[in-house]
Subunit: 425 residues, 2 copies
Amino acid sequence: MSSMSTLAQKTPHVLVIGGGFAGLWATRALRRAPVRITLIDRANHHVFQPLLYQVATAGLSAPNIAAPLRHILRRQKNVTVLLGEVANIEPAAKRVRLADGRILDFDLLVLATGATHAYFGHDDWAPHAPGLKTLDDALEIRRRLLTAFERAEATDDPEERAAWLRFAIVGAGPTGVELAGTLAEIARHTLHGEFRRADPRRAEVLLLEAGPRVLPCFPEDLSERAREQLRKLGVDVRTGAPVAAIDADGATLRGANGVETRIAARTVLWAAGVAASPLARDLGATLDRAGRVRTNADLSVPEHPHVFVAGDLASIDSGGKPVPGVAPAAKQMGRHVARAILARLRGEPAPEFRYRDDGQLATIGRMAAVVEMHGVKLSGLLAWWLWLSAHVFFLIGFRNRLVVLIDWAQAYWSYQRSARIILGA
Amino acid sequence: MSSMSTLAQKTPHVLVIGGGFAGLWATRALRRAPVRITLIDRANHHVFQPLLYQVATAGLSAPNIAAPLRHILRRQKNVTVLLGEVANIEPAAKRVRLADGRILDFDLLVLATGATHAYFGHDDWAPHAPGLKTLDDALEIRRRLLTAFERAEATDDPEERAAWLRFAIVGAGPTGVELAGTLAEIARHTLHGEFRRADPRRAEVLLLEAGPRVLPCFPEDLSERAREQLRKLGVDVRTGAPVAAIDADGATLRGANGVETRIAARTVLWAAGVAASPLARDLGATLDRAGRVRTNADLSVPEHPHVFVAGDLASIDSGGKPVPGVAPAAKQMGRHVARAILARLRGEPAPEFRYRDDGQLATIGRMAAVVEMHGVKLSGLLAWWLWLSAHVFFLIGFRNRLVVLIDWAQAYWSYQRSARIILGA
C-alpha cells in the first residue's frame, strides 16, 4: 500500500465501489481523466441486470448476460479492478476496509453498490422466498423452479403434487411480472409432454401484489393491459393482497377485511421490495425512507463532498420528480459523476444532474410487453419487439449477442429453453 | 407404488440407474421394447463428459454441454425419468431405496453409475484438490482457477502471489492433460493485459504424474509428442513424481530417491484416480481392484442374472483386453445391455459384448492433440481438427452445437473465453 499512497500524492485516486451500471459507466467515462481508478466489486463480473430473469427461468446461461469486469476494462490503463467485499467506509479518513482486512485509501469515492432485497423486517422469509439481484440468485431460483416440477413428478400424494405445482411470486413490479409470465409459459408449453405422472399444465402461477395494480410505475391503462396479458398467459393476478407470512409451505395473504388466505405453494419468489445497500449508513449522510443517500444536485454527498453516490443508492429529484431506480438512470448517473469529478479537478463548479427519461419497457412473456416512451404507449406484440430489440442492442455493448439471439430464436420457435440445468443441488 | 406393482405383473419394469452415456444409450435402445423403464439420476441432466474440462476452464457454459434427461427422452413414452439419489440396492429383493426414503421395485436393473474421484485412501486431500466428474465439479474448478488470478492481483506479497499463480494438476491422463494445456493457454493469452499488478504470463502450470509418461493409455511415441506439445504450451511436465501429500498450500512430491519436493501452489486439481461408484458393493458381486463389477460376457452380473452393469462401472475383457473406461465403450455397453434384455425377454441366449475400438483422441490445447485410430497415429494440428470435428459431431446429437461452435470460434480467433464468470463464491 505504501507505494500506492505515495502515488496518490500526485494523481488523485478515485475508488469506485460496485461494478453495476452506475459504477462501470462512471469508470469508463473517466478513461481520459488524470486520475488513478480502483474499481472494486464482490463479483468478478458485470451483469446485464434486465435479463437476470431469463437466467432464473432457464432461458439463458449465466455467462450469456455477464462479462468479467477486468475484461471490459482491459484497455483502460488507469483502472485497477479488484475482487473484494467492502466491509465499511470511513469517509472522513478517506479509506475503506475490506472484509478480508485490507485497507484502501482514496481521494474521491464513488459509491455505487445499488440495492438489495428487503423483506420489510421479515428476514425470516428470506430462505423461503429468494429474490433476484445477482447471478447466484438467478441460479438459485432456477434450481428451485426446475426442482419443483421434479418433486411434483416424484410424489404420489395429490395434495403435495399440487403444492409443488403452485408458484407464488410476491410483488408485481417489472421483475415479478417477468418471472410470472415466463414461468406460466414454461409450465404450459416448455415442459408439456415431458412428465409422466405430473402435468405441468396444471401448474398455478400466482402473482401477489399488495397495491391496487400491476406495474405501478406505468400509467394505469398500461397496467390494465399488462394484467390482461398476464391473464392470457395463465397467471392468476391478485392485487390488494399483502403478504402476512411466508414459510416453507407457502404464503398467507391478508385480505382487505382482515381475513387471511393461505396459499399452499412450495415455491415462493420475492420481487416485492428492495432496500439500499447497507454501506450507505457508513456515510453518516441523510438517508431517505428506503435507506438511499440524499445527494447534492451534482450527486456528491453534502456531508462529504469528496464522496459521490450513483445508481440505485442515490436519492435525488430531477425535474421535480424522483429519479427511478432503473438501468438507464444508473448509467446516466455514472456518467454524470465522472463529469462532476472532472469539473472538480479543474476547479470548476460541478454541473447539476438531470435525468433524461427515455421511457420504460416491461416484458410480460412471449410477444407480450408494455412500453411507455415520450408519451407513446404500446402493448402486445409491437411492444415486445421493441423490448427485445432494445435489450439485444444494449447487450451488444459487451458480448455474445449472437449467442443470445440464437438461444432466443430457439426459445421462440420451439418453446424450448436452453438452460434447464439444475446446478448446485 | 401400488398401481406400478400391478402393472409390473404384465410389463417388465426395467430400472436404469444413471443417465450418463451407458444408462442413456441403454434406455434409448429399449424404445421399442415391451418394457416399462424408469431412469433415475442424481442430476436432472445428461452431461457430454468429454467437454467438461471446457466448462472448468471457462470456455463453455454449463448448459452448453448438458441437456435435461426428460427432454432428451420426452418422446419415448415407455420411460419415466426421476430425479433422485439411490442410497442402496437390494438385488435379491429386486428393489432400491432412495436417499429420501422412497422405494422402487424392478424386474431388471441396469446399473450405470460410473466412476467417481478416488484419492487412494487420502480423502483429506479432496477439499484441496477437487476432481472433475460433474458440472458442479467443473464450476467449482472454474471458480478456483479464476479466483486464484484475482488473489494474485490482490496481494502485495511476492511469495503469496507466486503461490496463487502456481497451478498443480495431479495425473496426466486425458483430463489432466486437457486441464493443464488449456490453463497454460489462459494464463499466457486470455488473461494477458487484464491485470495491473500480477502478470498472468508468469503463472506456472505443473502437470504431476506418478508414472513414467503422460497419456499412458496411448502408444509411447504419441505420449512423447503430447509431452512436447505441452512443453510448447508452457506446461511444466513432471513424470515419475508421485504425490505424497496435498494441503491448502500445495503438494509434496516424493522423488525416486525418497527426497521430497514441495510445490507451493494454492490451486491443486485432481485428475489422478477414479474408483467405481460405491453402489457396486451392494450387488455382492466380484469386484476388481478399482471396485468395478466383474460381469458375464453379456454384461449381466453372475450372482444376479437380472442385474446388468454398463459403462465405467463394468469390468470386462473384449478381444483379450480390458474394455477402457471411455465414452464410446459406455455407449456400446449401454446398447448391448438393451440387446441382452430384449434377448432375455424373447427367451433367447444373450449375445456376448464385443468392444469395437475406434481409436482414441486426446486434446492438449490450441491446435494440439493426439489421435490413434485403427493403427494410424496423428498429432498436432490435424489431430486437433479431428478431435474438434468428432466432438462437435457427437454433441450434435442433442443441442446447441451452433452455439458451442460460435463460442469455440470466438475462443480460437480472439483467445477469449466466454464463461469467465465466478459463480457460487
